[in-house]
């Protein structure tokens, strides 16, 4: 018993002593940070996501202060105003997760990347979301949550670092401008019948939305409708007309 107390006291004492020494030293040997560097650090998000290619925000701030890189290297910064704004937002090009219609019962490692290796994953639709949440796991800001097997992106938390887009093996996460409220939540490039047979809410490439769009913003490409964000007025006509409800308005 005595050994336990000795161990606790001694190690605790050492920790306390070292803590005090370091605390004192950090006051005594405090170095004034270059005000320029400090203002750069203050304006950075401080999330150390590493998307700029430097070792965290501090590394990036040093590089900017030494003029080794330009301030717009930070993916979270507005190019002109150099303050945090996000003008785009990630969306998921799928409405039906693997759990709802399975090609086969997958019991392997529960990540999208691993599931993808087995015949392209267990989602009946080859283009659809696998739903194991690699995007939620990698998100440094906790902006991705899961609802009904599909990722939901939290607009206020998302910082546009693009990590979820990189990791998604199906490439179905896409950035759209924030002012675009209407998008086609499907990535199935198969012909209408094939797409319909694997998913009820797939885009079947029927072209009704193309004709319905008053602004002419929708085109068909590879049996898939695409909305041109520049022309789209968010009127929602296509959402009403779509026979499979593959078009979504946020």
């Amino acid at each position: 018993m005595q050994t336990v107390f000795t161990a606790i006291l001694l190690l605790g004492g050492l920790g306390l002593a070292f803590g005090l020494v370091l605390g004192y030293a950090s006051k005594k040997f405090a170095v004034k940070i270059d005000p320029k560097l400090k203002s750069i650090i203050d304006s950075l998000p401080g999330s150390n996501c590493g998307a700029c290619g430097f070792t965290g925000c501090m590394g990036f701030a040093r590089a900017v202060a030494d003029a080794r890189t330009s301030p717009d290297g930070c993916v979270l910064m507005d190019k002109k105003e150099t303050k945090l704004v996000s003008k785009t937002f990630p969306i998921l090009l799928c409405q039906r997760a693997a759990g709802q219609q399975e090609k086969f019962h997958y019991t392997g490692v529960k990540t999208c990347k691993a599931a993808m290796l087995v015949n392209g994953g267990n989602n009946l639709c080859d283009y659809g979301c696998l739903g194991f949440g690699d995007c939620a796991k990698i998100c440094p800001f906790g902006a991705v949550s899961f609802k009904d097997g599909l990722p939901v992106f939290n607009e206020s938390l998302c910082k546009m670092c693009g990590k979820c887009i990189e990791i998604c093996p199906k490439n179905i996460i896409k950035l759209v401008p924030k002012n675009q409220k209407v998008y086609i939540a499907c990535n199935n490039k198969d012909k209408g019948k094939a797409a319909r047979s694997v998913c009820k809410v797939a885009c079947i490439g029927c072209g009704i939305c193309v004709k319905a769009c008053p602004a002419g913003a929708i085109t068909l490409e590879d049996n898939l409708a695409i909305i041109d964000a520049k022309k789209c007025t968010n009127c929602g006509e296509c959402v009403k007309k779509c026979p499979t409800k593959a078009i979504v308005k946020q």
């Binding site: 050994t3 000795t6 190690l11 050492l14 920790g15 070292f18 030293a25």
Partner: protein, 195 residues
Amino acid sequence: MLFTKLFIIFLSAVLVHNYVLNRFLGICPFLGVSKNSSAAFGMGMAVIFVMTIASMATWLIQHYLLIPFNITFLQTITFILVIATLVQFVEMVIAKTSPALQQALGIFLPLITTNCAVLGVATINSDSNLDFIGSIVNGLGAGVGFTIALLLMSAIRERLDIIDIPECMKGIPIAFIIAGLMSLAFMGFTGLVSQ
């Protein structure tokens, strides 16, 4: 006689029991910081410095705290604590007194906190029952050996950049092969000193 003994400890740490190529400690910085010679030199100097003072501090802790209170089973955690504190402290002092040196050592100094070779030196010191001076010399030798390995590796890797290597071997694979060959070469020193 003392000098001979210390010289043998030093030589053993540098060549015969090279911490990277013979004991396989500190492989991470060995591969990570060996892409160019100047960075390798900076890292090497930082390691020499930290290993020497860490040997000193851990010997004192071992012989004046752990052994008298009969709690040597806390050796590893105590040594980690001591080394981490020491490195942080030294970094603060250097940042204040010599910004130039801090610039030169850069990120390497805080990185060494988690370098297993430093902890390795401390534990090997106590395992092989070295005295105070012997520990310091062993720490210094380990650092010098680490620097030599790192410098050799970086020189080789600088050459590798300009020669034609099969695509599948570029980068880390060829570095591993070379590390293995260097390790084999260093095995030639076995028997130089019998310890």
